[in-house]
């Protein structure tokens, strides 16, 4: 039997309508009745569907303005959806951001009671939990101090301590751990693990990709109002970095088009010694990177660059035609670079390909993930590269 999801979102669409000028006075309304009102609408979420199972820890990532927070606010029933429906089978913790409703003029004690009331605790429940909250926040000495005298880190600590007391099946969390020192963050993670064990469902929006990777069971990548990826966190993060590079690439391209220069890397292939396409190599194999590109004739001279990065972002090697003094005059739409003795250690790698103008700072196009390949070394050496070496006992041996 299929388990009933705790949250089911179907074809959710949210459109924000902004009048070009916002009319908040009666006069403006009257003046503009005659004129046609132009509204500018923004599709924050576009036909989004997903389900969340009970006890799942769902991360949501995406660039700024992609619709993450709107999604969370619709789940929390703060915003009304324009179309589609949401079904929630459980109690929802009503907070989105930490410290909402905190008042700087009140003492920490008063703020705890106010904030707990916002979270839906009764006065009795707050009293019972009060000591625990203060102890967790490590602010025992400052209970009767006004909040305005607290540092932002202290405020977040207090807010988090109250927030975890919410008795709800589903917690919605938006960007919480941006503040707070390392030791308090570790404490928060402990709470997350505990909540996870208790079978609570947590939906967590963050830019802290490593936190997402560590805690979420599943990750949604939201991009331009749509769910671009739904699955394993590490794959979602990889997809996210791809989006980021696409965006950067488009920026570089449009900047160069203004200058009338255009060259674009079309494809980069990894070839083996026989000239066939290959994605798995062994230590010492020959690897040829073949770059296909297009350019317009206005560019007098081009500089081609290729770099090798390990999967985790370690820069292993980089070279370009300018450094090698390789003459690219007469190049049409293909160029190749061959490593005839690949001395990298085992792991996954990716190639970055770039086209520069006269200097390296003048980037015409670049592809940060032009190609990927795996390397099987079959040796136990450690580090990045295999260096030629031998051991000895006496130096002049």
């Amino acid at each position: 039997m299929k388990e009933q999801p705790i949250i089911a979102v179907e074809n959710l669409t949210k459109i924000f309508k902004f009048p070009h000028e916002r009319y908040t006075t009666i006069k403006q309304h009257f003046v503009n009745i005659l004129r046609r009102r132009t509204t500018h609408s923004l599709k924050a979420l576009d036909d989004v569907s997903f389900e969340v199972k009970k006890g799942e820890f769902l991360g949501i990532i995406g660039p700024n303005g992609s619709g993450k927070s709107t999604l969370l606010k619709i789940l929390a029933q703060i915003y009304q959806p324009t179309a589609g429906k949401i079904e929630i089978n459980g109690t929802l913790s009503p907070f989105i951001e930490l410290g909402v409703g905190f008042n700087p003029e009140l003492t920490a004690r008063d703020n705890v009671f106010l904030n707990a009331a916002i979270l839906g605790l009764s006065k009795k429940e707050t009293e019972d939990r009060f000591d625990e909250i203060i102890k967790f926040s490590e602010l025992e000495e400052f209970v009767d101090q006004k909040l305005k005298n607290f540092s932002s880190g202290m405020q977040v600590r207090l807010a988090f301590s109250i927030a975890v007391q919410a008795k709800a099946d589903i917690l919605l969390i938006d960007e919480v751990l941006a503040v707070g020192d390392a030791s308090f963050q570790e404490k928060c993670f402990k709470v997350f693990r505990k909540l996870k064990k208790e079978g609570k469902t947590i939906i967590f929006v963050s830019h802290a990709l490593n936190t997402i990777e560590e805690f979420s069971d599943r990750c949604l990548l939201v991009y331009r109002g749509k769910i671009r990826f739904d699955g394993k966190p590490n794959e979602a993060i990889l997809e996210y970095t791809k989006i980021n590079s696409e965006v950067e690439r488009d920026q570089v391209k449009s900047a160069n088009e203004k200058k009338g220069q255009s060259a674009r890397i079309l494809r980069v292939h990894c070839l083996n010694s026989k000239g066939g396409e290959e994605s798995i190599f062994r230590l010492g194999d020959e690897l040829t990177a073949a770059i296909e590109f297009e350019k317009n004739s206005k560019i007098p001279e081009l500089n081609f660059g290729v770099s090798i990065y390990r999967e985790d972002g370690v820069y292993c090697y980089g070279i370009n035609t300018f450094i090698d003094k390789f003459n690219t005059k007469g190049v049409s739409n293909r160029i190749w670079l061959s490593f005839n003795n690949l001395h990298l250690l085992g792991g996954a790698y990716y190639l970055v390909a770039a086209i520069f103008g006269k200097s390296e700072s003048e980037v015409i196009d670049y592809n940060p993930r032009a190609a990927v390949f795996k390397l099987i070394a079959g040796i136990k050496d450690q580090g990045i590269v295999k260096l030629e070496h031998k051991w000895g006992l006496k130096l002049n041996e």
Binding site: T91, G101, L106, G120
Partner: protein, 261 residues
């Protein structure tokens, strides 16, 4: 969230507002007593000593003070209630809860001040040697009616204010008009009789005169004696309709507050 806990939220918000109103001042809560007394002092000197409005009215000073205290509640509640939704915009954008709590707590905050002020009225009554009769108990339903009416007006204003910021100015003028159009500073005996009937149909006049009748003197002219019985029910009708319009118009627009405010 259970209803019980919404009750706690309402209470916490009201108490917070009440605390914050006097935060940082040396006299603190005393101000909520001193303010109406100072206003009373000014109005008393002007209207009782200079203009002699109080001639022929039994216990005019207490009569005036009670009017001012009730008026302060109406003024404060509607003003704070109107602005409350916009002021709490940050909360609305981040937490989902019944928005009516915001207006409700604003009215409750003023109600706490009203209770404190009524104590002052009782002290004055004691010094003026007014004997409390059993009719003083009528004050409870009268105040209840007043709170319901005030809440209704506040809800309507809060709804309008989220869409049109003009209402903060319109209502300021409106309050001035109501202040002079109802028997707060002057006794009804000074009003030409053809206006009395119109004046007494308004809930504010009815409530104020009833409160004076219940507490101060049974000679006070009330709506019930000016307007004959079945017609006088119109006043209660106005109160109920105001409250219902306020409640439903607020409820209808509340779901979009998060995007509008």
């Amino acid at each position: 969230m259970k209803n019980k806990n919404y009750f706690n939220l309402t209470l916490q918000m009201a108490l917070t507002d009440f605390k914050l109103k006097y935060a940082g001042s040396i006299l603190g809560y005393v101000w909520s007593l001193v303010k109406p007394l100072l206003l009373f002092g000014v109005l008393y000197v002007v209207f009782s000593v200079f203009f002699r409005f109080g001639k022929g009215v039994a216990h005019y000073p207490v009569y005036l003070l009670l009017g001012i205290v009730l008026w302060s509640f109406f003024l404060e509640s509607t003003m704070n209630g109107m602005h409350s939704v916009v002021t709490r915009g940050d909360l609305i954008r981040k937490v989902n809860f019944p928005k009516i709590i915001i207006v409700l707590s604003a009215v409750i905050t003023s109600f706490l001040t009203l209770l404190l002020n009524l104590i002052v009225v009782f002290v004055f009554m004691f010094f003026s040697k007014i004997n409390l009769s059993a009719t003083a108990l009528f004050l409870i339903p009268i105040i209840a009616e007043f709170v319901i009416f005030t809440l209704g007006v506040s809800l309507i204003l809060a709804t309008l204010f989220t869409k049109f910021r003009d209402f903060s100015h319109i209502w300021e003028v409106g309050l001035q008009i109501i202040f002079y159009a109802t028997p707060i500073i002057y006794p009804l005996s000074m009003v030409p009789s053809q206006f009395v009937k119109i004046m007494m149909v308004t809930p504010i006049a009815q409530i104020f005169q009833d409160a004076r009748w219940a507490l101060i003197s049974h000679d006070t002219l009330t709506s019930w004696s000016v307007i004959s019985f079945p017609k006088s029910l119109i006043i209660l009708g106005i109160v109920i309709v105001t409250a219902l319009i306020g409640f439903f118009s607020f409820l209808l627009s509340a779901k979009n507050f998060a995007e509008e405010v």
